[in-house]
């Protein structure tokens, strides 16, 4: 709906958003497939008894998962310039700050691949890019969305700062105690997830409510039955150690489902894609791919946020 409103009221800036939407949605879908198949299934399938008997199907699924990763990477490479142009065309300061954050991270990704810049500088610039993009979202969105995105960005920044300090130790500079950073990041990440429906102003339908309760119950059951595998996946994929009570993660999973499902039901594909990209990316420094997903998600949410000009127009009416 946001994209459609913008198309009606500001045709000059509409095309980039419209072009970004299919790319963002495709990227979100590809990243979810990659998360489910490559980062989740193939990493846990090694626990299947007598896997050697299923070697061919396993290899096929593993190859498909790796392919979905490369598809997501290519879509990410397409989404970044499209998002930068779309944000820049918006013209306001916050959107251009978000565009600058994407450009900053593009430099980081290239420098990290070529190992041309010190890792501490890369860590700092990565965290800075995410905070800048989140601040841009906070500037353009409503206060509830701002707080939710701020919680995500703070969790990312705390996790990232922990890695930054550990990298400083790895370079022989100084050693730091960072457990409290990880603990705080864990709480903030759960807060982000639990408050997502509120932040994105989603009122779940009956089916949405049923689905989110089912996902929460399933998550809780998995945590009770074999929580360790779930927590390993959580650490690998999302940067969360799973040290808080299981009910917290169940509520978080249910809330995120309610938010994404609710956004899709209201045909708000852009913020839904943005939220999915944040989930696929996780918090902390894993790889430039995952951080790229986070930044793409923030850029998409920034573009989907309501514009002050639009609101002023509505008030005059």
């Amino acid at each position: 709906m946001i994209a459609r409103d913008v198309v009606r009221s500001r045709p000059a800036v509409a095309p980039p958003v419209v072009q970004l939407e299919p790319v963002a949605v495709a990227l979100a879908v590809a990243s979810v497939i990659e998360l489910m198949v490559l980062r989740a299934f193939t990493r846990t399938a090694v626990h299947i008894p007598a896997l050697s008997a299923l070697q061919r199907p396993y290899e096929f699924i593993s190859t498909f998962g790796r392919y979905s990763y490369f598809v997501a990477v290519v879509l990410l490479l397409v989404a970044f310039p499209v998002a930068v142009v779309a944000l820049w065309c918006r013209g306001d300061f916050a959107a251009r700050m978000a565009a600058a954050a994407l450009l900053l991270f593009s430099f980081v990704a290239v420098a990290a691949r070529s190992r041309a810049v010190d890792i501490l500088v890369l860590d700092a610039l990565t965290i800075g890019a995410v905070v800048l993009a989140a601040a841009a979202v906070a500037s353009r969105g409503q206060w509830r969305a701002s707080l939710v995105v701020a919680a995500f960005a703070a969790a990312f920044a705390l996790q990232g700062t922990s890695s930054f300090l550990q990298d400083a130790a790895s370079q022989g500079l100084a050693s730091f105690e960072t457990r409290w950073l990880l603990w705080a990041a864990e709480w903030l990440a759960l807060l982000f997830a639990a408050a997502a429906p509120l932040g994105f102003a989603v009122r779940p339908s009956r089916w949405g409510l049923v689905l989110s309760i089912a996902v929460a119950a399933f998550t809780f059951a998995v945590l009770l039955a074999n929580g360790s595998t779930f927590k390993v996946l959580l650490l690998w994929n999302e940067g969360l150690a799973g040290t808080l009570p299981s009910a917290g993660y169940a509520v978080a999973a249910g809330s995120l489902t309610a938010a994404v499902f609710g956004l899709l039901q209201h045909r708000r594909a852009l913020p839904a894609a943005g939220l999915v990209l944040l989930i696929s990316g996780g918090i902390g420094l894993h790889s430039t791919y995952q951080t790229g997903l986070v930044l793409a998600g923030l850029a998409v949410i920034c573009l989907a946020a309501r514009e002050p000009a639009l609101a002023a127009h509505a008030k005059v009416k």
Binding site: A26, R43, V46, H47, L51, R66, Y67, F70, V71, V73, V74, L77, A94, A109, R113, D118, L120, V121, D123, A124, I127, G128, A129, V131, L132, A135, A136, S139, R140, G141, Q142, W143, S146, S163, F164, Q166, A169, S170, Q171, G172, L173, A174, F176, E177, R179, N226, S228, K231, V232, L234, L235, A241, G242, T243, L285, H286, T288, G292, P308, A314
Partner: protein
Amino acid sequence: MHVLNRIPPRLFSLGALAVVLLVAGALQLADANPAASQTMTLTAWTADSDPGLDPSAAVWKRTQFIQAPLTAQAGSYAAGGGSIPVVWARALHYNDTLYVRLEWEDATQDDTTLKVEQFSDAVALEFPAKAVATVPSVCMGQADAGVNIWQWRADSEAGVADPSDRYANALVDMYPSKDDLYYTARAVGNPYAKPDQGPVQNLVAQAFGTIGPAGIQDVHGSGVYQDGRWSVVFARPFAGGANDLATFTAGTKTDIAIAVWNGSDGDRNGRKAISQFLTLNISGAGLPGGGSSHWLVLSLAAGTLLVIVAGGVVLGIIGLREEKPTA
């Protein structure tokens, strides 16, 4: 652009999708990954003196640690584990031998396993095997990418205990023989049944359930429990000696994962706390003395981080104060 505008949107979308899928396929075939890892790095510096197996050796005090977060892992029942949340890791190399020192908090010193309900404290390192072309699964590797695991056990460090210490009234009439045949674990080559091999087992695995002793047992180690903390040192020459063992070279990087068992919490086998794969950087450089150039980099990076984060926060606050449209 004019030409592009004349293409029907559906055809354009399908064409763009086909290009994306083709490029992705080409990248996969070429194994050209545009992304880079940003995981935690453990650097093994070149030591100026032999660290030996003593965890309290002076050279370790000049080496910075990294804190690796751990999480619960249970590949088999009983599920659980994960009571050790973090491990402090340091690494050095000297005369083409890799030394890794691990330290973690544990309120109980579990170094005896005389009773069936007793389990030992332990710690392990996991590396990709020499011959692998891809990063293996952290859970014991996979069929096409094996792993080499070094496990130190507190009960092996303590040595073989005398059962009469625990069961003072137990009587044994006689043992018919001291041949391996009557010590079945020793007979089948279980390294735990050979305490003279030291407290570290060199193991290999190529998938869950396939772990077994390596053909070469050349990993040494020693652990000390003091003030509620275990400190353990592993040491092994760079050269692996076999394709299923890890091999190291100064100036290269490999992957390393850490696992810790808390015996009093019931940890054993798959029930443990594990890290994800970290990067092990075998640096060709000597131990840094905290030179001014290093601190300049750290200051620059920290300053950049603070300025950008502070700028972002200020921007966000300004944005929040602006008038926002109603829902």
